[in-house]
Amino acid sequence: MTSEDVKKKDKAKKAADPRDLTVDVATQDMIARSRDMEIETIFDRAQTMKPCNIGVQGTCCKNCAQGPCRLPLPKSGIEGEDTRKGLCGATAETIAARNFARMVAAGAAAHSDHGRGVAETFLAAARKETEDYKIRDTKKLLEVAPDFGVEIFVEGENGEQVDRDIDEIALEVAEKALAQWGQQEGEICTLKRAPEPRYELWKKLGVVPRGIDREIVEIMHRTHIGVDQDYENLTEQCTRAALADGWGGSMIATDLQDILFGCPYPLKSSANLGILKEDHVNIIIHGHEPLLSEMIVQAAELPEMVEMAKSKGAKGIQLGGICCTANEILMRHGVPLAGNFLQQELAIVTGAVEAMVVDVQCIMENIANVADCFHTKIITTNPRAKIASGHTTHIEFDEHTAFADAKRIVQEAIDNFPNREKDVMIPNQKSELIAGFSYEAINYHLGGTFRGSYTPLNDNIINGRIRGIGGVVGCNNARTLHDDGHLTVVKELIKNDVIVLTTGCNAITCGKAGLLTPESAAVYCGPGLAEVCETVGIPPVLHMGSCVDNSRILMAATEVVKAGGLGNDISDLPAAGSAPEWMSEKAISIGHYFVTSGVYTVFGVTLPVGGAPVFENYLYNELEEIYGGMWDMVADPYEHARKMIAHIDKKRKALGIDKARERVLLDMADRQKLEDAA
């Protein structure tokens, strides 16, 4: 396809007003520009192509060549017995559950394969096979080592306990971590990080995953024609695979990334397309893994590279991120966010991007076509992810030659600077933000080096200043008003004193809207949350990282449980999860591991289970009996947030913290009753 093909021939067709497509002004401007330049983007295609109305119900089965069997649920519903069946007899419930399970499998595979890549790099670093990656955060290494059953002390010469060699620890952690993927029996060891009652529940239910790959493969097997034809049994396998993702692959990815690149701590940066600089070499890093982007950040900072850029007439090199790679390098280096998922084509439309470097996941094929309209180079780097459309450059990234590869990529971008055309339009919009809230950082910031703990958070939840915790995450979805779902949900939550933990494209949205600044507390929050934010100096929305870093939210929830006063399990917490604009299969895996970790999790837009009312009811209601958490789908973002708040209030009531707390004054007798000093 040539760039000419991309340009729309038929201008007569009336395009939607950009203001009806996105609430983000920079995005509106860029959509308008793309229209002026006759460049088609996802926003246009979303108008011209409607989603399949059977697929959207989740009841189209194409798992064998006798189909596809399509079992739509009539708008009026079915009165009496539901007699819909596929050729093999699969019911709507079986079909929807199988489709759902395959989404979990794909999502878990995506996260976990990312994790595997990190684990392999980590192993290379531990073996010292690469110069470019080193064990940087030894504190975190020592913290996670015991979870992998790795000793951090050894017996000294005189039988005393001495610190074990850090390289030895790293090597054993690397080997043990990597073994979690191929493990065939037993349990994934990081599951034990969950609060004990949660782990025990999983054990009782028999859903503790055996090995990361195994559970994913088993979904593929079970959903083959004629295998698992019981939606409950299928859901159980979804749980194994999803837990293997959230508490396994994703969590291990986060941990090992922190050890290699440093555990994030709060830092300042900015977001939106306005971060691009007209007089700089602009490089967009897009995708999901930090392995390459970390190297690019280092390479772009090299004086020789900056000099080279200057020799080409630029004033310097500006990096910007899109999607979760953006979040990864923001969290650790403060590299600004250029935009979220739906802005990837539009970043190119500015005409100011020398190179867009991509690795894996959420990279739209069409960027190659858009790039063909400009000088922009699309550089694919991962052997798993190549693009056939348009013109792309493939520079394969190898962890053993990582830095050299990164330099080549940056150089490629610099060399491209003189090819930039005059017609450049960079939107003005950019907002300042504070990011970098690992659960360790939250712990520190709630009490410093000496008193760091989650107790102040719990305390203010108990006393009602903070009503609860909302985890709002997930993608963009071109079927809904861009960024509006995210912002409406988040603003309604913080207005009602619910503190928000965010990752992924929601975090980028919040960043662009100024919700990641401490100043936003006074503007958007209820009085209680505002007061707490003011005391700690935090934004009301805490950016915890990429979508793999949803594991940080799990750990934060676990820390809250451990800090006490809010029940014994994640399901006791006044908390709820949300993905207002989800679209990827990863979101389904994330949703399911949150639900089965005990969290009420609401999705926006749609959920492909509507054609199977029994299965839908199982997910939305019956799972609560089993896991204490359940799925829900509310398309309207305001109602979406209200349902989360209602759930939080339900949990507050169950904990008995729905009433004002009395001040307890201790006398001597009370003090004598105090338990041990700690």
Partner: protein
């Protein structure tokens, strides 16, 4: 608004650390790195640094590490817009400031050795020496016990100065009434709270619980250091275990800061430091408040507090409940006034004390015999005499109640001392027929009469012992003949009682009593008190524990069934072991009552004396906490207490009361009193009379003369010659360690 506090405090912390670095550099140049650095007579190095980091600062060289650490703790300054989170950094800045200040104060001891007065409880005001600085360990342990038993629930760290001295006095008195210590530091434009109190003729010092630490804000470290030493001494918290230490402080030490006058950046840094301890700040000025809870139990910073509300507001913010004794007398009343003296110049009326006879007697009465609340003064009252007069005095207290027993009489009688002492302007010394009361002029001006003593005793007996008595009647005699008559009768009663208590033995007494009174401070320790092994704090004997149990059946003293005696010589009972195993949370499975060598009893660190085995002398030494010097064990009292406090059983060491030395079962399992080879001279003096009796029972009337003391030597080698010369019996006994 918190941002302003954070901004100022972090700024202040930079100032403090920078100044400390400068001071350190100059000291290093002047004195050299080997210059010793210490808080005199304390065993905890620089206690904040030591307790939280484990770093032992002993000289200027070793002070560098914590100072570098303080510098490293300093966070970036808070930016105006889109700033980073600051609560954690703010607390770190506060901690950095305190580390730096502790080093600054330690250097002051080197530069100006006479600035502070480490070993006295009350300042030498007449010579213009107001500031006490760090309390030495003797004071810390003595006062720490008050925190342990709850007579002092906490302290108010007052920094700055009140708007005028009258306000200062009013505040101080309210804290005294509320039984809370006042620790003073810093000045407001040169005026200090301490000097304001002196202007108002208020007595300062540990005895009145108004402790002037120092004139600079850096003296705040003495208050926090005191709290942390208590945590190490009584809480058994390991140095360097900062998490446990700070949790201990938050949960058990009810302290807070009152900032009086303008709060500058350095004060803000100190306040931030205190938040690490869970100690909030209340200010009388309009500073930014920090109200959300979390690090402290409730609010962190409260502003604009009126002075007359400051004490009550402070204890509420700290989450403390103080029950104030409201007694219908014209004087302020509370434990803080116990240590207050009535000086000669202020003396209005004196009774007893060798000049006249004064006698106290408490007797059980029949319910119908007495009238509750009846207080009678037979003879001259205060109004009948003039300033400087003396009177004899007999205080006869009759109590009746369904639960009352004769055994409780001495316990009630012993209360008279402190109950009278609690009244402001009244001083009481001694007991029984050697009592002594001084009434100050100010008390009389306020309208005090002798009848008030009766009112106090009636009210307090009901309050503290309400469950064993129903009626209290007090009669006071001030005519010579009546006093003589009472005295004669009382002496017979005393004799009868002493004989009864003397004759009680562990063998024929059941049950023993536990004492967990100090578990609020020493959670792992439990005492078991028997008739022949009184509580190691010296405050509770078996009878006290029994009475306490009767008064409060679910209280800290519980009966312990002895069960089978498993070792009569070492003093071991199955029931006691079972009890100790349970209450020590399975840490201790077996204890011997009468041995220092084998499985001795545990101590919380508030023992009066510590006995230690001296293997070379084949004997045992003991040392009381008032003795500051070295001992032949190679350790001072405070070091010994540090080694064995916190609820451990440490073979070779045991805590005990002074009285216990002269009880028959004292280290009987190791050979008894004849093992005693070294005792400080002052302790010898104190227990001489009873020791003599016991020595005679042991068939060695001159035993005490054979026991060495510090005048002989403070090493085993030094005392050996003496012991040989005196032919000390321990030398011929079986080997104490090999046994």
């Amino acid at each position: 608004m918190s941002k302003l506090v954070a901004f100022a405090a972090i700024q202040g912390a930079y100032n403090i650390v920078s100044k400390a670095e400068g001071k350190y550099k100059r000291a290093l140049e002047k004195f050299g790195g080997a210059q010793k650095v210490e808080f005199p007579n304390t065993a905890y190095f620089l206690p904040i640094i030591y307790s939280l980091t484990g770093i032992k600062v002993t000289d200027l060289d070793s002070a560098r590490r914590p100072l570098d650490f303080a510098r490293k703790l300093l966070p970036p300054h808070v930016k105006k817009d889109c700033h980073l989170p600051f609560l954690g950094p703010l607390l770190d800045a506060g901690m950095a400031a305190l580390f730096a200040e502790e080093i600054v104060e330690a250097i002051r001891y080197v530069e100006d050795p006479d600035f502070y007065q480490p070993s006295v409880e009350d300042p030498d005001v007449d010579n213009g020496k107001i500031w006490l600085g760090a309390a030495d360990d003797t004071i810390m342990r003595k006062r720490g016990v008050e925190f342990v038993d709850g007579t002092a629930p906490g302290f108010a760290a007052i920094v700055g100065a009140a708007p005028d001295s009258a306000t200062a006095k009013k505040m101080a008195e309210e804290y005294q009434v509320k039984t809370i210590y006042v620790f003073m530091a810093a000045n407001q434009s040169g005026t200090t709270f301490a000097e304001q109190l002196l202007e108002e003729n208020v007595q300062l010092g540990w005895n009145t619980r108004l402790v002037p630490f120092g004139p600079d804000i850096s003296a705040a470290v003495f208050a926090l250091g005191f709290a942390n030493r208590a945590g190490m001494a009584f809480g058994g918290i390991e140095p360097g275990d900062y998490k446990k230490m700070l949790a201990y402080q938050k949960n058990r030490v009810f302290a807070f800061v009152n900032a009086l006058g303008e709060v500058n950046a350095e004060w803000a840094a100190n306040a931030a430091g205190c938040v690490n301890w869970g100690f909030p700040t209340l200010a009388d000025t309009d500073i930014p408040e920090i109200l959300p809870t979390g690090v402290c139990t409730y609010e962190h910073v409260v502003a604009n507090v009126e002075h007359d509300e400051m004490p009550s507001r402070s204890i509420e913010v700290r989450g403390l409940k103080v029950t104030i004794t409201e007694i219908d007398i014209p004087l302020a009343y509370g434990p803080a006034f116990e240590g207050e003296r009535v000086r000669k110049d202020d003396l209005y009326l004196e009774m007893g004390g060798g000049k006249t006879q004064m006698t106290e007697l408490c007797k059980m009465a029949d319910m119908n015999e007495i009238e509750d609340g009846k207080v009678e003064v037979i003879g001259p009252e205060v109004k009948d005499i003039k300033k400087g007069d003396r009177l004899p005095l007999g205080i006869y207290v009759q109590v009746a109640g369904r639960q009352m027993q004769e055994d409780f009489e001495p316990i009630l009688e012993r209360q008279i001392h402190h109950l009278i002492n609690y009244a402001q302007g009244i001083m009481h010394i001694g007991q029984r027929d050697i009592s002594w009361v001084r009434v100050g002029e100010q008390a009389v001006e306020k309208g005090f009469s002798l009848k008030d003593i009766g009112t106090i005793l009636h009210a307090k007996f009901h309050q503290d012992f309400g469950s064993i008595l129903d009626k209290v009647q007090v009669t006071m005699y001030t005519k010579q003949e009546d006093v003589d008559k009472l005295t004669k009768r009382a002496r017979q009663e005393y004799k009868h009682r002493d004989e009864r208590v003397e004759s009680m033995t562990d063998e024929d007494t059941e049950p023993f009593y536990s004492c967990t009174l100090c578990q609020s401070f020493a959670p792992n320790h439990v005492c078991v008190v028997s008739p022949e092994r009184t509580g190691l704090c010296g405050a509770y004997n078996w009878m006290d524990c029994k009475a306490s149990f009767e008064i409060n059946p679910t209280g800290p003293n519980q009966p312990v069934e002895k069960g089978e005696c498993t070792d009569p010589v070492l003093g071991a009972w199955q029931g006691v072991d079972d009890f100790v195993y349970k209450t020590s949370r399975q840490a201790i499975s077996h204890v011997n009552f009468y041995s220092v060598v084998q499985d001795p009893m545990t101590t919380c660190g508030c023992c009066e004396c510590i006995a230690a085995v001296l293997p070379g002398a084949n004997g045992v030494m003991t040392v009381h906490r008032d003795y500051l010097g070295e001992t032949p064990s190679g350790m001072k009292f405070t070091t010994l207490a540090g080694v064995m406090g916190g609820g451990q059983s440490s073979p070779g060491f045991v805590g005990h009361s002074k009285f216990n030395i002269t009880q028959r079962k004292f280290i009987k399992g190791d050979g008894g009193l004849k093992r005693l080879v070294w005792v400080p001279k002052s302790l010898k003096e104190e227990i001489k009379e009873r020791f003599q009796k016991r020595a005679e029972e042991e068939g060695m009337p001159d035993l005490l003369d054979r026991v060495a003391d510090e005048t002989v030597g403070t090493t085993e080698e030094e005392i050996m010659a003496f012991l040989k010369e005196k032919d000390h019996p321990a030398l011929k006994m079986d080997s104490i360690v090999g046994g």
